[in-house]
């Protein structure tokens, strides 16, 4: 493992080199929970930007405080793209508002602004999570979403970060999932058919593409 790799303690996933993006696919809530584990469950020196399209920034912060109590919130930023008015910030995490999830230009700019602020606070490495693309696909032109994912992917590559996108394939045509997967460097499917969820990894080289149980 190179010192630049992003590790995932507690998950059966080999470290992923810096500058890569992962598409997490599965039922919305489960995929979201797993994606959070990828970004919050790693090295606590890493900063995190969480872009949320359906859960308000304050709720994301509260949920994260409960699930990851050791997280340093000064290294954590949220882009709240729910379009719901914020009634005052209740968290140390920095929250940037965007008028709606359809404002992909706004999300891209706020993400860059947050990254700069975290850098100013001494964060050198960033894990960025976008939760989720499925909501965008409901009311944004597919080409615009492609441009947005490409642009985010380019920023992750340019800044040696880790990018995680969440998608629920049951909400879309298979070719949509296929095309978005082709933009990312790898994909992780998550499912729950028994008491514990399973994941299956596609990409990043050496994986056998078999389901493996995880604990969340």
């Amino acid at each position: 493992m190179s010192s630049d790799d992003f590790g995932f303690p507690g998950l059966p996933i080999d470290p992923i080199p810096a500058g890569r993006t992962v598409l997490v696919t599965g039922p919305s809530r489960l995929a979201s929970r797993f994606a959070r584990e990828l970004v919050f469950g790693g090295d606590h020196e890493d900063g995190v930007i969480f872009i949320s399209t359906s859960t308000t920034g304050n709720t994301v912060a509260t949920d994260t405080r409960i699930a990851y109590p050791e997280l340093d919130f000064s290294r954590f930023g949220i882009v709240d793209a729910t379009g719901q008015t914020r009634a005052g910030s209740e968290t140390a995490a920095r929250i940037e508002q965007v008028s709606s999830a359809a404002d992909l230009t706004g999300i891209s700019i706020k993400n860059s602004i947050l990254a700069s602020h975290l850098k100013e606070s001494g964060v050198d490495r960033l894990r960025t999570c976008f939760d989720s693309l499925s909501l965008l696909l409901l009311y944004t032109n597919f080409r615009t979403i492609m441009r947005f994912v490409h642009t985010m992917d380019g920023r992750i590559a340019a800044t040696d970060g880790l990018g995680v996108f969440v998608l629920d394939p049951s909400m879309h045509e298979p070719q949509v999932t296929y095309t978005l997967k082709s933009v990312c460097d790898g994909a992780i499917e998550v499912r729950q058919e028994s008491a514990t969820p399973d994941i299956r990894i596609d990409g990043f080289g050496t994986y056998a593409r078999e389901w493996e149980a995880i604990e969340l």
Binding site: D103, I109, K119, R147, H150, G154, A157
Partner: protein
């Protein structure tokens, strides 16, 4: 980045020259153009193909997002980066423009800007269409094949005529996929294929499984249902296969079109692959012919 063109737009002369110098110093062989207003940037774009535009936000005659919006509409392969002191950017009327943003005063601003220019240029990381992993080499190969167009056309005309008959389709075409355009080398039938790459079905075909893509109904496919150029050309169903060079680069596509819905079988998919293999052979023969003449 060699041979790439970067346009730096800033109203302040000092900043403009400094940014231009920064880009020149980092990338050998890159041409850097400058403009001091939205209007002069539009003029520069009119006269020269630009790979990446780095623009400030506030100008007396508009703003950087208006310029990016113009670029998205007219120059689809060009990357856009807002490079500005302002963190107050009004995106309300530009929700789908999608640009990169670098705050000039932020730590590592210059390093981030340069890394983003590199990403947005050759790798086309702001593209609104799928981009193959080896896009730079693929694009170079497509440009080389384009030079053989006259030599290739007669054989491709035969091939597209044959494809129309074979598939009982309304039209067929062989097209090359360049950086941001799709160029027909031959077509048979009545269809007008989209010429903007991000509007084309072909750009999806070259990254499809096995290099073949079948679309039974473009109106029911979310990737294409909102694309005016496809719908206005009455392309309702589509079957296409990537044409590869000896080096394995998918430089173009052979495809058949219909103005009605159509289900394609596994045999259809296999057969269009045979047509594309034949097209690849024709290219290899033409390349060999040109080499022996030289």
């Amino acid at each position: 980045m060699e041979e790439s063109v970067v346009l730096v737009v800033d109203g302040d002369e000092g900043t403009r020259l400094q940014t231009a110098e920064l880009v020149r110093g980092e990338f050998e062989g890159v041409s850097v153009l400058t403009a001091n207003s939205v209007a002069s940037a539009r003029d520069a774009l009119e006269n020269q193909s630009v790979d990446v535009i780095v623009t400030g936000y506030v100008f007396p005659d508009g703003n950087g997002l208006e310029l990016a919006d113009h670029v998205r509409e007219r120059y689809t392969g060009t990357g856009c980066i807002l490079y500005t002191n302002s963190e107050t950017v009004d995106t309300d009327s530009f929700e789908d423009v999608v640009v990169e943003f670098v705050g000039k005063e932020t730590p590592d601003a210059e390093r981030t800007l340069l890394a983003l220019i590199e990403q947005a240029g050759p790798d086309q990381t702001q593209a609104a269409h799928p981009v193959p992993a080896t896009e730079g080499a693929r694009h170079d190969a497509a440009e080389r094949i384009r030079d053989l167009e006259q030599r290739l056309s007669p054989a491709f005309d035969e091939l597209t005529t044959l494809a129309v008959d074979h598939f009982g389709a309304r039209s067929a075409a062989v097209t090359l996929i360049l950086r941001d355009r799709q160029v027909p080398v031959s077509d048979s039938g009545t269809v007008t294929v989209p010429t903007v790459r991000e509007h084309s079905l072909a750009t999806h075909t070259i990254v499809s499984d096995g290099g073949v893509m079948a679309v039974p109904d473009t109106r029911a496919d979310p990737r294409f249902s909102g694309t005016e150029e496809i719908q206005s050309a009455a392309i309702r169903s589509y079957l296409g296969a990537a044409i590869e060079t000896a080096g394995g680069h998918a430089v173009g596509v052979i495809s058949v079109y219909d103005d009605e819905k159509r289900e394609f079988t596994a045999i259809d998919r296999r057969e269009i692959r045979r047509f594309s293999a034949l097209a690849g052979e024709i290219i290899r023969l033409a390349e060999g012919g040109e080499r022996s003449e030289q």
